[in-house]
Amino acid sequence: MDAVVVADALGHAYGDIVALHHVTLEIPPGRVGLVGANGAGKTTLIRILLGILDPTLGSVLVLGSDPQRDATAVRARVGYMPEGDCLPLSQTAADFMVYAAELAGIPGKAARQRASDVLTLVGLHEERFRQLSEFSTGMKQRAKLAQAIVHDPDLVLLDEPTAGLDPEGRDEMLGLIARLGGFGINVITSSHVLTDIERTCDWVVMLDGGSVLREGPLTSLLDTDTVEIELFDDPTAVAETLNRAGADVTVTHGTIAVQVDRDDTYDLIRDTLAAANVAVRRMGTRAQTLEDVFLRSEEGMP
């Protein structure tokens, strides 16, 4: 399937302040995380994707349409959950969901059915006839997600969807977001909470200071080229053997770290351990979080 977003040298400035600088990326279908610190340009990018802001440089296509030239074509196929409030407080959840669906062109009867279904999906079916002003923060976040998907969009943009939620509410929200991919809805989640992105996305775009720091599949970003080995015995002898064989080895707190920089590194580790006849407590690729990747990338490290 084609990329859902294609940006080419995209830039935007608020006066003298550059919010996005030469952003070139291709976001594939699926669940994509847009990560970066506050002020990294995430919300500006989302507003450009929706056609609210025009880029000052470059071009962008969303689902094959240019939001600058044909915003309505893009808007007809996307849903948006903003970071801030977006709920009319004097309406009931059911009325607003029907309205949100009808606004996207869903006929009345189907809109009522979809409103009911989506409120059930986000766990608000029992509260559907309550005024939105009476909702708790967690319920409001779920209602915001419901309005974003009530018209069955091809792409949904979620801006800080877990903002203000307690741990339980956050867990539920992430569960819902993770399910969206299975419904055939492409998701772009913008967040500065990297663990949220790790849980819900399979492709990541890292923004920093308005530029793309890194992008790619989550698994490849989290993969490291270091094997860690913990032994029951003293690791010194094994480390020295590996070193003599030409491997790049460091020992920290009793853990041997071997850099996988040759085709035969794994064979070398296996043979060395077998020859040393030692008991292995743990062996595997060094675990890395998205936060590690982000911080290393910020510092210019690979």
């Binding site: 609210i52 309505t72 074509a73 977006c86 009319p88 009808e102 062109g105 979809r114 279904d117 005024q131």
Partner: protein
């Protein structure tokens, strides 16, 4: 096989039916605007003022027609041409309620969407800034239309039944009256509705916006009245509340002596230009403000 029932997770069902597009989005935004203005599908207190004002606007027409009908039953004469129960004069009766309705409705149509962040929802629907503002203005137009046209139609039908020559014949021969009524209604809508939008575009809360709107109208009226009485004719331009009355007199070829621009001897086209200018100003301000929001 088990006799017991089973619960299935129905999961997510995509929408496979038609999508009606931009026109439908505008239509439902107009419908939502009407619901907001009249407090429909909202708490009871939201309904009180608009329906009270509507009652005040419509009731006199029903009373007039009823009174004239009764009078025609007990006496002879041309009751259809009484000075207080004609289309031009009835605008004076509804003008105050239209002004109050616009003072309440203009802010109600624009402020909550902006302050509560609902514009973000519109920005992910097939709509443009012009669609949104046009739909809100359309809702106000229909609302004002209710206030003006319903009593005028009551009056039109009532007077047609009182005149000689047959009911249906009168309806057809006096159709020009209805055209004049519609024209004058548009004038009142722009004259009173546009300033309400202008205030609502910048205000953050409903009650202060209504206060500013009414304060501006009454304040400017007092200033215009005061300066005009001291011989400054051009000050009559500030009498925003009176301008639609002047244009209405122009449309119906009637005369109202108590209007400030009329007293200042300003030509009716001046009032029309002032109304159009305020309308253009409100439109420009609204588009400028909403262009970066939607």
């Amino acid at each position: 096989m088990s006799e017991r029932g089973a619960v299935y997770d129905l999961g997510y069902k995509p929408h496979e039916g038609p999508r009606l597009g931009r026109g439908a989005a505008v239509r439902v935004t107009v419908k939502d605007g009407l619901r907001r203005m009249f407090g429909l599908r909202r708490r009871a207190r939201k309904k009180i003022l608009p329906f009270l004002l509507l009652g005040i606007a419509v009731l006199p027409a029903i009373v007039f027609v009823g009174f004239l009908f009764l009078a025609s039953q007990i006496a002879t004469g041309d009751f259809a041409d009484t000075p207080f129960a004609n289309h031009a004069a009835y605008f004076d009766i509804v003008a105050g309620t239209v002004l109050l309705f616009c003072a309440l409705s203009g802010p109600e149509l624009l402020i909550p969407d902006r302050v509560e962040g609902v514009l973000a929802v519109y920005s992910s629907r097939p709509m443009t800034v012009f669609d949104y503002l046009g739909a809100r203005a359309g809702a106000l137009g229909i609302g004002v239309g209710f206030f003006v046209l319903v009593p005028q139609i009551v009056l039109y039908v009532g007077l047609a039944s009182l005149r000689d020559g047959g009911f249906l014949t009168n309806l057809i021969t006096n159709a020009e009256d209805l055209f004049q009524v519609v024209l004058a209604t548009v004038v009142y809508l722009v004259a009173y509705g546009a300033p309400a939008f202008l205030v609502a575009v910048y205000a953050k809360r409903l009650a202060p916006a209504t206060g500013v709107y009414l304060g501006a109208f009454f304040g400017l009226q007092a200033v215009a009245d005061g300066f005009t009485s001291t011989g400054n004719r051009l000050a009559a331009i500030a009498a925003l509340a009176d301008h639609p009355g002047v244009v209405r007199d122009w449309i119906f070829d009637s005369t109202s002596v108590d209007l400030v621009p009329t007293r200042a001897d300003l030509a009716p086209w001046v009032s029309l230009v002032v109304i159009a200018a305020v309308g253009a100003l409100a439109l420009a301000a609204a588009v400028r403000r909403y262009r970066t929001l939607l």
